[in-house]
Symmetry: C2
């Protein structure tokens, strides 16, 4: 990757965004990170995001969203059960959060444009994802097109660039890359439905993580 | 306008969004409104937004954003002076707020998708605006395209529709329409740089408002 001046990382605290954080750090002169507290069931991920940023000495901001913005998702409504063992029959499971990546990327756009940050990293990947429409390359491209038209930086031909370095990676490949970058796996969290702070080991996100580590032949520790 | 089932209005408390609110109310079975507290210099507009919603008996939510999201704008930074008497020499004046409509429309998208609201009204207009890239029809179209690709409702061919009924209206035409709809002008606020709660009468927004009322031959009261 060509060296970048400044990058903002959307950091959930999961494996993919942590890998993005390490990639951005390796390839940028200056890195910022933002995370979102949206009353998610797996809020423990924010602690990991904080620890990861601290470890790399990166300026990190947690943006707190009022409850009620995201509804009708098992990740924000405890009355809706998180599917276990890939039991969801729907193309888009109920862990989908309405417009989440659109909103997060929009915050990142405002923040980046305010601070003249040139790049935004987001850890979406198309292979081992759960069918979310806001993780696909065609969505990212359309978001990129939209901010090129709808921002001052776009108007001035200095459009903020959305970087998705993991978009074509399988979970196995992400883990191998993370290993190479020395991402501390224990400082990442994937589970949608943790019991206390521990992963449930049976939600889609836990299973995808396990499969990835198995295929990579690496211990998740 | 064909009758709509449900509409969400982005309500700043200004003349244009108030007119949108009345239009949405007239043409929709159910209407919601959202406003944003982004530590704007003209926060008094939120009081008007509240009064307008109350008058029409519309469910209204004010979303408070953490300070520091929007920087480098005279509307959020009191150290930057609001231009007076169209004095700005820049194509996009410093009253531009980085990514504001992108962020507001994204909130509206998440909120609408969560509540199964079918339409989002935004009062952008291209003729009498201040050169903001996020008020142009091509921006709205690209935002529409982006949410068609990036949401579950889009995937299911029930995309939320962004409505811009004022997009080709001059300020004069908006005022004439507002008059017809009985929008209470005194419950709207336009000034970027109010003195106390009173308009300054010399910022671009005040001047555009005055010009519109003069051309419409209507008193602003």
């Amino acid at each position: 990757m060509k060296e970048l001046n400044s990058s903002l990382v959307l950091l959930s605290g999961g494996l993919d965004s942590a890998t993005c954080l390490y990639l951005a750090k390796k390839n940028s002169k200056k890195v910022f990170a933002i995370s979102f507290d949206y009353s998610q069931r797996h809020k423990v991920e924010l602690k990991k995001a904080k620890l990861l940023s601290k470890k790399l000495n990166i300026e990190h901001k947690i943006i707190k969203l009022q409850t009620g913005i995201f509804q009708n998702s098992s990740l924000t409504d405890k009355k809706i059960k998180v599917p276990k063992n890939f039991s969801s029959k729907e193309k888009i499971p109920n862990t989908y959060v309405p417009g989440r990546n659109i909103l997060f990327l929009s915050f990142a756009t405002s923040f980046a444009e305010s601070k003249h940050i040139e790049n935004i990293f987001i850890g979406v990947n198309v292979l081992d994802y759960s069918g979310y429409p806001d993780c696909r390359p065609e969505f990212i491209q359309s978001f990129q097109d939209m901010i090129s038209i709808g921002t001052k930086s776009g108007e001035e031909k200095k459009t903020i660039l959305i970087k998705t370095p993991l978009v074509d990676f399988s979970k196995k490949e992400i883990i191998l890359l993370a290993k190479k970058l020395n991402v501390p796996f224990s400082l990442t969290h994937s589970c949608y439905d943790p019991i206390g702070n521990k992963p449930c080991n049976v939600c889609d996100s836990c299973l995808l993580r396990k499969k990835g580590f198995d295929e990579a032949g690496i211990l998740d520790e």
